[in-house]
């Protein structure tokens, strides 16, 4: 599967491309809905780790959330 990675220098561009914006420190979408993890925790701009395939799953830059995502694929 193709993977696109970004770093701190390109994070703004990716966030904008995904139709997200900052509301204070928190990320929201164009309808002002708060962007959250699979556990419904809000995601701050500084924590943003990307979006995974399958219902647009947003994650923080945290390996445990990555593991949680792959674990959820084992159902």
């Amino acid at each position: 599967m193709v993977t696109i990675t970004f770093n701190e220098s390109s994070k703004n561009m990716i966030i904008k491309s995904l139709g997200l914006k900052k509301e204070g420190e928190i990320l929201v979408d164009n309808s002002n809905k708060v962007i959250n993890t699979q556990d419904f925790d809000e995601i701050k701009f500084s924590e943003f780790g990307g979006v995974l395939k399958g219902s647009k799953i947003f994650i923080r830059n945290d390996s445990l959330e990555l593991i949680q995502y792959f674990s959820s694929l084992l159902n």
Binding site: M1, V2, T3, I4, T5, F6, N7, S9, S10, K11, M13, I14, K16, S17, L18, G19, N30, F48, G49, G50, V51, L52, K53, G54, S55, K56, I59, N61, S63, L64, L66, I67, Q68, F70, S71, S72, L73, L74, N75
Partner: protein, 271 residues
Amino acid sequence: MPIEDVLAKLFGSLISVNVDKSSHIHLDRNFIQIDDKKITDLKKVKEIHKEIEDGLKEYADEETYPANIIHKDLFAEFRGLEALTIKEKESLKKLKEIFGEESIRPILLARSIHLAIEEKKPRIMIEKLLTQLDKDFPGDGKKILNLISAGYFDELIIPMIEICKRQHPENYNYKFKEFYYSLLQFFPTAIFVNNDTSIRKIISEINKRFRLRKIPYIRIHTIGKNNIKKVDEALDKLKTPTEYDVEKNTFTTNSGLSAQTSLLKISKNRS
């Protein structure tokens, strides 16, 4: 739309590189790396950024994006977990059924590291994953990795699910977890005998553990007829002031190998 078409659309005719399903595209403000090809022409970089931005915006109302989009810091782990969940999906599903969502996580990460080592992935990637394992699962992470690396996870632990099912059909789940967690809890007291372990070494390892204060038992795990014979001979030759009872559980692994767990229960501790 196939992913290659999507990317071709994203990049347009700005660059001439082959993008396939396993491609890794890294975006930096000043350059773009597509697998081995690095684009540093700033004008071109900006144009591609714009193409990607416009391309992704088209997916605003779709269920999903055409690719996984992740922070570079997560990439090594992402690739490891991706490869693992494709290769070992069935055995992992079996473990998840028993362990549940939380406890499967250190196993997932440890197995992905083992796979990366086996596939000789770059050292820097493996070191990063090992650091992550230690940080996220400081208690059991490395023990689990050691069990996997020694072959005991596949040859002993996973087959033990079926053994527990046969021996304790009503509560095999509980019995298996009891076996697994005691293995981790008393990891320092366990002895794993393989083809390179001599009888003398087995005896010395048992004696070393008998010297531990308040040790409740020692478990000797082994696979293969010759190794079982070595353990039996070592126990016959063992001379110790510690009083203990031996319980042996022999079984056959899924790959048809004989295996044995010898439990040395210490009945009188000198401490």
